[in-house]
């Protein structure tokens, strides 16, 4: 205790002696005076300890070059990250395209999904993504033809299962797909495929139950129109407005005259809210006219959506998608249904943007940081 007290007194005296600057106004203990002289010697020699002029100039030059180079690397790093993300999206989409086009059981559960199935939204977003990233008009044309064919497959399977209403919705989507085939890049395969579709629709129409026939009639008319042939007279109940709906912009998906609308009457509000959520613009007329409006509308709908549901489909196919959210027959809470979370999880997993973002989440760190350069400790901490 006594030693500590003495040391504290000496420390105070030293501080005072250093503050005096050796002016002699304070009589210092001999030991303290020696320490003050030593301190002065340190201060004097400190001014000598400077880097050479040569080093000063060269080091500065090297620092400037390093900074300029690191600036360029940062730029190229950002570019490469963007390119990598884009490449990743394309690869991912190509994989999805392979899954979708292959269509086999092993190609992914969603490839064989039908409207109303849990995985159908995944199938839709896959198709939309692949279409959006088509590298050429010709590729886009092939994809649209394939998707139209897929819609007819789905329609046939739904009819076999007795799901007439969903078959009507699906065949209406076939119409939309054909409407996107404006000015085909290569008309020959289009004509060939449409010829096959026409024959197939005729077959389906012959065996289809009456509720599904108007939709099939409409699809047939659209197919013939695409083949530059006059379409049949619209069947009773499928009026001209309905035919126009297939090839021209529709005011609002849930306001169309499709057969699904009857079934969608109950969840229409939900469909409208979903459409609003995804920025559905409906069929607002554009200065370029209905055709341009339709193209714009279609392009908008083909954009991959954050949750993996085509806005149009979400609204127009309320009978399939909203069925997961609609009250259960037993009146139980739809949110508590086991299948509802599955849909959401699948949608999230299928969102290529979300995945691309995750892939590029890391670049928040710079290349230098990742290189393992020692990080400076917080000032004043971790010192010797």
């Amino acid at each position: 205790m006594n030693r500590l007290h003495k040391e504290s007194g000496l420390a105070e005296a030293l501080e005072q002696g250093l503050a005096e600057g050796g002016s002699g106004s304070v009589v210092l203990d001999r030991d303290v005076a020696d320490l003050v002289r030593l301190a002065r010697m340190l201060e004097d020699t400190a001014t000598l300890v400077v880097p050479s002029d040569e080093f000063r100039a060269r080091s500065r030059q090297r620092l400037l070059m390093h900074m300029a180079r690191s600036g360029r690397q940062r730029h190229s790093l950002r570019t490469s990250i963007a390119e990598r993300a884009r490449g990743w999206v394309i690869r991912f989409s190509a994989a999805l395209a392979a899954l979708s086009i292959a269509g086999g059981a092993a190609a992914g559960a969603s490839a064989s999904a039908l409207p109303g199935d849990l995985l159908y939204p995944l199938k839709q977003v896959t198709e939309a993504t692949v279409l959006q990233l088509a590298p050429s008009d010709s590729a886009r044309q092939d994809l649209l033809l394939h998707q139209a064919d897929t819609r007819l497959d789905e329609t046939a399977r739904l009819l076999q299962q007795g799901r007439d209403t969903e078959a009507g919705v699906t065949v209406a989507r076939y119409d939309d797909t054909l409407a996107a085939l404006t000015a085909p890049a290569n008309p020959e395969p289009v004509q060939s495929q449409l010829g096959s579709n026409e024959a197939r629709l005729n077959e389906l129409q012959e065996s289809a139950p009456p509720p599904a026939r108007p939709g099939l009639e409409r699809a047939l008319a659209v197919t013939k129109r695409s083949l530059n042939r006059p379409g049949p007279t619209p069947p009773p109940g499928a009026d001209a407005v309905a035919v126009q709906t297939a090839v021209a912009p529709k005011p609002e998906p849930h306001q169309s005259q499709r057969p699904s609308d009857v079934a969608d009457a109950q969840p229409a509000a939900v469909g409208a809210s979903v459409a609003a959520k995804f920025g559905e613009r409906g069929g607002a007329a554009t200065p370029e006219g209905p055709a341009a409006s339709h193209r714009e509308d279609l392009q908008h709908r083909l954009q991959p959506t954050p949750v993996g549901i085509e806005p149009d489909t979400a609204a127009a196919e309320g009978s399939s998608i909203e069925s997961d959210a609609s009250p259960a027959p037993d009146g139980s809470d739809p949110a508590a249904r086991a299948d509802a979370p599955v849909v959401r999880a699948t949608e999230s997993a299928a969102n290529p943007r979300a995945n691309a973002h995750a892939d590029t989440a890391q670049p928040g760190r710079t290349a230098t940081e990742r290189s393992g350069a020692p990080r400076p400790a917080p000032a004043g901490r971790g010192r010797p």
């Binding site: 301190a39 880097p51 050479s52 080093f55 390093h66 900074m67 990080r375 004043g380």
Partner: protein
Amino acid sequence: MDDRHIIALVGRAVARDQAAFAELYDVYLDRIFRYIYYRTVNRQDAEDLTEQVFLQAWAAIERFRWQGKPFVAWLYAVAHNVVIDWRRRGVTSESLNDGDNLIDVESASAAQAMSQWIDADLLAKAIKQLTPEQQEVIILKFLDGFDTATIAHMMDKREGTVRALQLRALQSLRRELERQGEGLAA
């Protein structure tokens, strides 16, 4: 805390302004060099490490945040890490005998410079024998000229503790110089 000009320069440097960082280099080069020299006791090593400090500081400048301490305290922290890494690599060398500090003694001014460098070198060697905290206080107080209150803030210590450290550091330094002198006399 630094003056407004330094604060403005730091702000621009944090935003990756190369000219601003180059100006900070001009302002702090001598101090960082000195800080390292008294830890390495070798001019060549001190120059190499000083350059590394500024390169690493540039790489990390975006993470700098004011914590109520002078900007140089952050640079010292970078320098401290650089020196630690350098010691771990085991590339330390002795100064007076390795030829790095050889000065042409043909001229009187060169001889005087050499004499001064020997003084500085001897002091640096003695400082190197102190505890890390004593070294810190000696460098900040007598080589950098910070007052006790600022050093206490930079080292996260009370002023009384810094004064006690300062006393013990000078006492240890004197003993070390005496030991070196006895060694030279022998």
